[in-house]
Each structure stands twice: as structure tokens, then as C-alpha cells.
């Protein structure tokens, strides 16, 4: 509708495949009317921002339904199916319910921090969408250090979770936030190292540049670098607090973690932010490893941003799949996994990638010769590494940690009934 409106105003025909010419035409329009430079920036910036934010907002609503239906299907349930066709109106009903609910705040909570935490948790996820390349020339902010910006913005989430947990003045919230911080600090390292492998190989930190590299050599990074993909996927699903690693809000252990005390739309923000972050991370994976808006010959027929959204949802399905099938880690298992498995693998991969880049630059062999060789070598090494780490480093099965970390001795008084059984000659439970 907006496109046809612009067509009427400007007299240009706007191709849906390349939305970037839209902002160019607007710039020309303002420039011709004698508008100042800053107005051009403000208008094109606002247009891009509104487009992206409405996409993200829509995604946050729809993905509630997607997630519940898909997980329901995987767990032999129906999922929401009452409101509207296929239950599609369920998220709308949920949103209305959340907005109507009274926002309760504990009397002992520290007010301002308590209110700021959900906002600060949501905002970085929306920032991240600014640097994503939605198509050729369709990046809102083409940052030279885009990958680093992704890491920096997503690292702010830890502080928000901490603020939420601390200001609630609730022990479960505090436990939850401490778990999150321990987890985020651990998983930041493999994430950075996995992304460093991609950045080192492509030689650019600009997300659009990484897509252009994949287009130029006609290869997806996931073929060249399967190990970083594996590491990044696992580590980031821990950072997202999704089920294989949702120890931060493990409902069966610590009630709800850091958002125990939140209700109404403040809780809604936390909930929406997790869905937004999941989509944004899927977008990052499809940019860095799956070619972004480029897809061999297909991007000549289909608009790049449609391919991109398709890839995003493909990766998102993988996240939902892991959520629907895998059981939850214990906290010590999760941290050990980061330090003993993910980090060494990432370091190994980094050395390998550095050597490959050096060979490529120094030998002068053509990319057509080297890249297929790298694909074979890297895939073989990825299989060997993962299998090797699985077999050699696999811990002996432990029902409980070998020694208790924080409280070496706790005297647990026997229950009266047990004590009576013990006194009467001992039952099946002797100790």
C-alpha cells in the first residue's frame, strides 16, 4: 500500500525485490525540494527503523503461536487451537491479557532498577536488527565493525537480567540472575571465538561484507566452517535461555528465575524479548553461515529479503526443535560444557582457520582450488573433533557432583519417621 502511494507521489515504479531504491528515491525527492541534509538522514533512518521494528514486533507476536504449536506437535500435544483458525489469535488474546493485568511490584523491590530492567533487556535485541543486511543495499546501519557490535549489544542483556534479579529482592530471582551471569560469562568466550573464525576467514566484520564474500565465492560459510556453526549454535542457545540450557528460569527448580516477581506487561517484555532475541540470533546465523539474502540463483527470482526471512525461520525452527526435544542441563554440566568442550574446540578451530587464511594469502593458489579442499578438510576435521571430544573427554556418569562446591558439610536432620525406622534395625535406607 505504501509502495503504491509512493508510486503515485513520485511517478516511479518501485520494485518489491529491491526496497533499497525506495529510500534512495525519497532522498532524491527531499533533495530536489531543497530539504537539508539532516532531513534526508532522519527520514530514511526513520523509514528503515519503522520497517524493522514493525517486523520485529509482528514476529514477537506470531512466534508465540509458532513456538507453542511446533513444540506441541513434537510433544504429541495440540497446542493452542481454539481462538481463530488454527489458534492463530491466541497470541493476540495473550497480549491483551498481559496488558490488562495489574503490574505488581514487591514492597521491598528497588523501584527504578526494577522498572528499568525489562526495558534494558528488550532494547539491545532491537538494536541488533539495525546492522542486519536484509537484502542487497538494504542495511539500516552498515557498521564497519558489525560483528563486534552484535557481541557488544548482546552482552548488555546480562546486566539487565542481573538488575531484574537483584532489584526483585527475592532469593529465587537472585539465584536465577546469578546463574545467568555465570552462564553468560562462560559462553561469551566460545561465541566470540566461533565468530572470530568467520571474521578471520572473510576478512571483514561488516555483516553485509560477509554476505558478499559468500556470494563472491559462491559458498555458504557453514560448508567452509562447520565447527564454528556447531559451537555458535549450541553456545547461543545457552545465551538465549532456551530449554536445553534454560537453567536461568528453570521453573521446576527456582520458580521462574530472574522474572519471578514480574507480572503484567513487565513480564510480557521479558517474554517478548526472548522471542525477539531468538529471531535475531537466527538472523545472525543465517547471515554469517547461511549466506544471508544470497542463495545461488534463487535471489535473482525472489526478493533477497524474502530469502533472508525464509532462512531466519529455518534456523528458528532448529531452535524450536532443540527446545522441544532436549532435556535441561544441570548448571555444573552446562558450565563444564562451555569450558571443557566448547572453548577448546573453538581455539582449535581458530588455529586451523588462521593457518588456512595464511596458506591462501601466501601461496597464491586460486580460490577455486583451495576452497573445495578447505571444505573437505574442515568438514572431516569437524567430525573428527566433535567425535573425539565426545569419546575422549566424556565424563564418567555421575548421579551427583563428586564434591559439593559451596557447602562442604551440611547436617541434614533425619525425619522422625526415618529415624524411627533406623532405630528399629534399619530399613532399606540405612544412612
Amino acid at each position: 500500500m505504501m509502495l503504491s502511494l509512493l508510486t503515485i507521489i513520485t511517478g516511479y515504479w518501485f520494485d518489491i525485490r529491491d526496497l533499497s531504491n525506495l529510500s534512495r528515491k525519497i532522498e532524491e525527492l527531499i533533495g530536489d525540494a531543497g530539504g537539508p541534509d539532516w532531513l534526508i538522514f532522519v527520514v530514511s533512518g526513520l523509514l528503515g527503523a519503522i520497517g524493522i521494528i514493525s517486523f520485529i514486533g509482528g514476529v514477537a507476536v506470531i512466534n508465540i503461536w509458532v513456538e507453542r504449536r511446533v513444540v506441541g506437535r513434537m510433544q504429541s500435544r495440540l497446542g493452542p487451537n481454539r481462538l481463530g483458525p488454527f489458534g492463530l489469535l491466541q497470541p493476540v488474546a495473550d497480549a491483551i491479557k498481559l496488558m490488562q493485568k495489574e503490574v505488581l511490584q514487591p514492597a521491598t523491590a528497588s523501584g527504578l532498577i526494577f522498572t528499568l530492567a525489562p526495558i534494558m533487556f528488550t532494547v539491545p535485541g532491537i538494536w541488533l536488527t539495525a546492522v542486519l543486511p536484509w537484502g542487497r543495499n538494504m542495511t539500516l546501519a552498515s557498521l564497519d565493525s558489525g560483528v563486534l557490535f552484535l557481541l557488544a549489544a548482546s552482552s548488555l542483556g546480562a546486566l539487565a537480567v542481573f538488575m531484574a534479579g537483584y532489584s526483585s529482592n527475592n532469593k529465587y530471582a537472585l539465584f536465577g540472575s546469578m546463574r545467568v551471569i555465570a552462564m553468560l560469562v562462560s559462553y561469551e568466550i566460545p561465541i566470540v571465538m566461533a565468530l572470530l573464525g568467520v571474521v578471520l576467514f572473510t576478512g571483514t566484520m561488516d555483516l553485509g561484507g560477509i554476505v558478499l564474500f559468500q556470494e563472491k565465492y559462491r559458498v555458504f560459510m557453514v560448508m567452509l566452517q562447520p565447527l564454528p556453526f556447531f559451537i555458535y549454535f549450541i553456545s547461543v542457545s545457552a545465551e538465549l535461555n532456551r530449554t536445553p540450557a534454560d537453567i536461568a528460569e528453570a521453573e521446576s527448580e527456582i520458580v521462574g528465575g530472574y522474572h519471578t516477581e514480574y507480572s503484567g506487561m513487565k513480564f510480557g517484555l521479558f517474554y517478548a524479548a526472548e522471542l525477539i532475541n531468538a529471531v535475531v540470533v537466527s538472523a545472525i546465523i543465517s547471515t554469517l553461515f547461511l549466506g544471508g539474502w544470497w542463495m545461488y540463483k534463487l535471489d535473482e527470482l525472489v526478493p533477497g529479503w524474502m530469502i533472508y526471512i525464509g532462512k531466519i525461520y529455518g534456523v528458528y525452527f532448529l531452535f524450536v526443535w532443540t527446545r522441544g526435544t532436549l532435556p535441561r542441563f544441570r548448571i555444573d554440566q552446562l558450565l563444564a560444557f562451555a569450558w571443557k568442550w566448547m572453548t577448546p574446540m573453538a581455539i582449535l578451530n581458530l588455529v586451523l582457520v588462521a593457518a588456512e587464511v595464511l596458506i591462501w594469502e601466501e601461496s597464491g593458489w586460486s580460490a577455486g582450488l583451495l576452497l573445495p579442499a578447505y571444505i573437505v578438510i574442515n568438514n572431516a576435521l569437524a567430525v573428527v573433533t566433535i567425535y573425539g571430544f565426545m569419546t575422549l573427554l566424556a565424563p564418567k556418569f555421575q548421579r551427583f557432583p563428586a564434591r559439593l562446591r559451596f557447602y562442604p558439610t551440611i547436617d541434614v536432620p533425619s525425619l522422625p519417621a526415618v529415624a524411627a525406622v533406623d532405630a528399629a534395625g534399619g530399613g532399606p535406607r540405612a544412612s
Binding site: L143, A152, Y166, M178
Partner: protein
């Protein structure tokens, strides 16, 4: 943020640093940074102090962006606001609740003198240095690549020394906090 990341519409002669938007942004960011830094010292509760410190780091990152050093700005947010502030909050949370307040201390006099001396040294150095003002710089030149070149070519020795220092600190921390295996089993 000021939309300086877009296509350059400036024709090079007018320096970006005298732009109205840049000047206004600089003063807003400087005021935010200074106020937050003061609040770190004045606020009673340690957690709030740490959060203000994180805000100070973000303000400094904003000033880097104004100076069109985007790489340094992003690293500032990543390392200081993302990692250092989180580690500090972790440290604060591991202390007993009673110690989480900035209580009265007899050391305020010496601390004031010491911080005054540090401030004097920084001000002196800032005035003493002849600042090389590169007025011809565009909006956002690629800073990451030139930083990398500088670190790994002329300044490789200090860079490596710094990393060895960090390594030593890390090993030291592990040695200090490692509990005795024998004690734990007993």
C-alpha cells in the same frame, strides 16, 4: 545516534567535528558521563554504583562515536559495560548484604588526596600533549583494520607484554582461589 553512518553528503572542507549536531552530542554525552561518574562516588548502595559505572562506560563509548572511532566505541561497550560491569556486579553479589553499602570510612581524606593527585596528573598530561588534530577525516573511516596493523606490526612487543601480564593475573587468581583437594574430601 546522529545519522553520520549514512552516505557522506559533506564535501570534505567543512570539518565534521565543528558540526552543530556533533557539538551538541558531545556536550550531552560529556554531561551524562561526568554526572554518572560522580554518582558512582556519591550513591550509597554499591549495586547502584556499579550500574552508574556501566552508564559511565556507555557515555564514554558515545564520545568515541562522536570522535568517529566506532571500533573503539564498540569495544568499550563490549569489554567495559558488557564484561567488567557484569564481573563487578558478580563480585558485589558474592559479598555479604551488610557490606553492600558505602559506609563511613576514616580513609576518605587520603582517598580524596590520592584521587586529586591522579586528576592533576591527567589534566597536566592533557595540557602538555600537543594534540594531533586530523581535521580531514571523513565520517567513519575503517579504524579496525588500521588498529590491527598497528598492534601486530610496530607495537607487537607491548601488545604481547600486555597479554602476558593478563595471563599472569589470571593464573594468580586461579592459584589464590583454588581450594585444597584434600580439605574438600575430608
Amino acid at each position: 545516534m546522529r545519522p553520520a553512518a549514512g552516505p557522506a553528503h559533506h564535501d570534505g572542507e567543512q570539518s565534521l567535528i565543528d558540526d552543530t549536531g556533533i557539538v551538541v552530542a558531545f556536550y550531552i554525552l560529556a554531561a551524562t558521563t561526568v554526572v554518572c561518574a560522580l554518582m558512582v562516588a556519591f550513591v550509597r548502595e554499591l549495586i547502584q554504583a556499579v550500574l552508574f559505572l556501566a552508564l559511565t562506560f556507555v557515555g564514554v563509548a558515545g564520545i568515541y562515536i562522536v570522535l568517529s572511532a566506532d571500533f573503539v566505541a564498540v569495544v568499550q561497550v563490549l569489554i567495559y559495560a558488557g564484561a567488567v560491569a557484569v564481573l563487578m556486579t558478580f563480585a558485589v553479589m558474592l559479598t555479604p548484604a551488610a557490606d553492600r553499602r558505602n559506609s563511613e570510612t576514616p580513609f576518605w581524606g587520603p582517598a580524596l588526596i590520592l584521587s586529586g593527585l591522579v586528576l592533576a596528573v591527567i589534566v597536566f598530561v592533557a595540557y602538555d600533549t600537543t594534540w594531533h588534530l586530523d581535521k580531514g577525516r571523513g565520517a567513519f573511516p575503517a579504524t579496525a583494520a588500521s588498529l590491527g596493523e598497528a598492534f601486530l606490526k610496530p607495537y607487537v612487543v607491548p601488545f604481547e607484554v600486555a597479554s602476558v601480564l593478563l595471563m599472569t593475573a589470571m593464573i594468580g587468581a586461579i592459584v589464590l582461589t583454588k581450594e585444597d583437594e584434600g580439605d574438600a574430601d575430608a
